[in-house]
């Protein structure tokens, strides 16, 4: 199963998904541009853009092992963290001017503690993200944004004005709008792009200067507008997951006939489904409200499950999904609970779910994933 259009832009997005420093990012840095890393889609990447820097979501793409990180973390820490920290330790992230973390989960917040001591990144900043979503939490998060803004200003020696923030919000909203446009194409009976390629596009959005990405995505959307749709699939699938930044997972599932048409994951809809309000006078107010009350949440937000479940159910309807592939990173407590609850709701709606625990790197498990996906698709036989 392939995207039915030959596209240099799509090739560039795939290259960005398979590397850390892609040509667009390299060009930016060669021209003196700075890059700030972040580890989670709750991070305020707009503020990084407003500081004149490129936000880069940290991945461990291409990691070969965790030997260095294992001296600090342990075998019960998730493999994303071990690989990502290892990449930091071996110098793969030496190009970062700074990095920002949130207390989003027990594993990632400990990368911060280790990274700030062991990796030579000029600025390591931690933010305290609330677990509730009331107005008081919006106010708290706004203060955290202000603190982060000041830290960036100190680091760069520049002033991040409201005007710069408003402009950054516009640029990031455009990314969101374009990505939603891309996803809208996947609602078609014969979508013009595979799930694997779509994931590559979303990953690229977090790995290069946003304005450049937006230009490229517009080009791709033009190319896809009249492209022939994919017909050789058996079922329409939705992916539900925490971090998944390896298109090979989806490619493996698609190779056996399950076309991934939508998702609820943080390298996916949860990062762009809603815009930041551009009309709010104070840009930090807008960003705080967006993060705490408006964007789709992950299970770290307390008692938000009914909304999250509804979000998934709406996507199932909107994208005419036949089945769900639910991936959980081994040792992830948050997603163990989330999938336990979600499977109850989806069971009531008679939506089939394939629950797979996974490690960050797919190496060595392609055969297993393929076999499980095949069996799942066969089990959907009676559903169509």
């Amino acid at each position: 199963m392939k995207t039915m259009v030959k596209s240099k832009v799509l090739d560039a997005f795939n290259e960005a998904a398979q590397t850390i420093v892609n040509p667009q990012l390299k060009k930016w840095m060669d021209e003196g541009g700075k890059v700030v890393g972040y580890f989670c889609c709750y991070a305020p990447d707009e503020i990084i853009t407003a500081a004149g820097m490129t936000p880069f979501r940290v991945r461990a793409t291409g990691s070969k092992g965790t030997e260095m990180a294992d001296a600090y973390l342990s075998s019960i820490n998730c493999s994303f963290c071990r690989h990502a920290f290892n990449m930091g330790l071996i110098g793969e992230y030496d190009f970062l001017e700074g990095a920002v973390w949130l207390n989003n989960c027990d594993h990632i917040r400990r990368i911060y503690d280790n990274w700030k001591r062991k990796v030579n990144t000029p600025m390591a900043h931690m933010m305290s993200l609330p677990k509730l979503n009331g107005d008081k939490q919006v106010a708290w998060w706004r203060e955290e944004l202000e603190i982060f803004k000041k830290a960036l200003e100190k680091q760069t020696g520049t002033t991040i004005t409201d005007e710069k923030l408003h402009n950054a919000i516009k640029i990031h909203n455009e990314t969101r709008r374009l990505l939603r446009e891309l996803y809208a194409l996947r609602k078609k009976a014969n979508p013009p792009i595979t799930g694997a390629d779509t994931l590559a596009v979303v990953i690229a959005s977090t790995a290069m200067p946003r304005a450049e990405f937006n230009k490229m995505l517009k080009e791709l959307l033009e190319e896809l507008k009249d492209a022939p749709g994919i017909k050789d699939y058996k079922y329409r699938l939705m992916l539900i997951s925490s971090i998944l930044d390896d298109p090979l997972y989806i490619k493996t599932i698609e190779e056996v006939g399950g076309l991934v048409v939508t998702d609820s994951q943080c390298f996916g809809t949860r990062s762009f489904w809603v815009d930041v309000n551009e009309k709010t006078k104070d840009p930090l107010d807008a960003l705080a409200k967006y993060t705490i009350q408006e964007k789709p949440h992950c299970p770290r937000m307390f008692l938000g499950f009914p909304t999250r479940s509804k979000y998934v159910q709406n996507l199932i309807k909107e994208y005419k999904v036949d089945g769900i592939v639910a991936l959980r990173m081994v040792f992830c407590d948050l997603w163990a609970g989330e999938l336990f609850m979600l499977e109850q709701d989806l069971g009531k709606l008679n939506v089939p779910v394939l629950h797979m625990d996974r490690e960050y790197l797919m190496a060595g498990t392609v055969g297993q994933v393929r076999t499980r996906a095949q069996a799942f698709l066969e089990s959907l036989g009676g559903k169509k």
Binding site: Y112, D113, V330, Q344
Partner: protein
Amino acid sequence: MTGRSLSDKCCQKLIQERDMLGMMVEAFTKTASEKNLHYVPTKAFVDHHNEILRRYISGEPHITSYFCCAPEIYTAMDLPWNTFLTPAFTGALMPAYHDEIDASGKMFRGMDLCTIIRLAAYIVEEDLVPPPSAVVAMIHPCDGINVVHQTMAKNEKWSKIPVFGADPPYWADKRSIDYYADEMKRMVEFLQKHTGISLNMNRLRETIKESNKQIKLWQEYNELRRAVPCPHGGAFGLEVFGEALTVHCGMPIGTNWLKDVVEDAEALVKQKKGPVPKEKIRLFWFDVLSLGLTMGLFPWLEQEWGAVVAMEMFGYSPYTQIDTSTEDAIFKGIARRALHEVPMIRQARGVADYFLEDIENIVKNWKIDCVIYPGYMGHKDGSGSAGLMREKCRELGVPFLYIGMDLFDDRYRTLDELKDIISKFFTSMGLG
């Protein structure tokens, strides 16, 4: 009439636990040739279970909560609270414990979720705990406890039970304490609304004063544990914690018991007596304790290696006195205690620095020869700090052991395996 009775399924586990603890109380009574310090805390749990059962049947309010959610407030409101964590701690006494662990793993399609958390969710799903009037959830220090309360809130039988969670900031500075103090006030409003019990501020002030006395006695006791030989074994700190922060928190009965403990320890120090008269190793066990450890591993450490657990996570008491002069001061003090001082929350909730600070303080002040971090499979954040802990110990010149075990499932790492690992560690480090 509530239509409820002791024969309801949800009461059976609590009754079983109560009876097991009751047998222990009886044994203490019969063998009390000298003042038996275990009697009061154990009896307190029997009384507590009886009260929860009584309230369930009568329909009088009781809540589900935790030691780290300001139990001083519950005492001041005469509001008994039950915790989901008990089944894991008492599990070693229960016949069907392993079956329940396995069933909870099946429920979550995996055994890598913290065993305490899995069991807590399981007992709710299986209707093995009396539903309370309200739940004050703990949504820190770990992901597991956050998510398990979400699963409970979704449970059909429990879905109508009101749930409160105080939002925990990641820091412990003034801004964070002020924020959390507001959360504590919000918690009081929630409790008043859902239990119909009003909080009397004078009563709270008196409770805090009593609790301050308890904390002071606890600190005195810990001073005595610096003595060589250590006057009591490793498990005793957990009992002190239990009295001061759970069943008798802010109550004179707890204070009196703590006085007895201090008196007993003082006498032992004067006589240079302890569980290991000729101590060879003083160790710091930096995590939760379970009955499996305190009944199996710790006595072996003492007998086989002359090793005493001079300090452990729950026995450590880095508490400050709460200022009772104004309502505002009281809530800020409660917030600081709940957010930054109570064990496990203190270390696991925020940045890893607190693990390191505590290691440094305890190693230096309790004459520690080695630090053991068990690497409990549920404590992912702690395991993510293991390398930093090791470096801190290296800096302090004490050996550090990371094991990797399940404190609540002895099949993950059996007692024999633990003994073997620790023996090799002691031998290779030239200890003992």
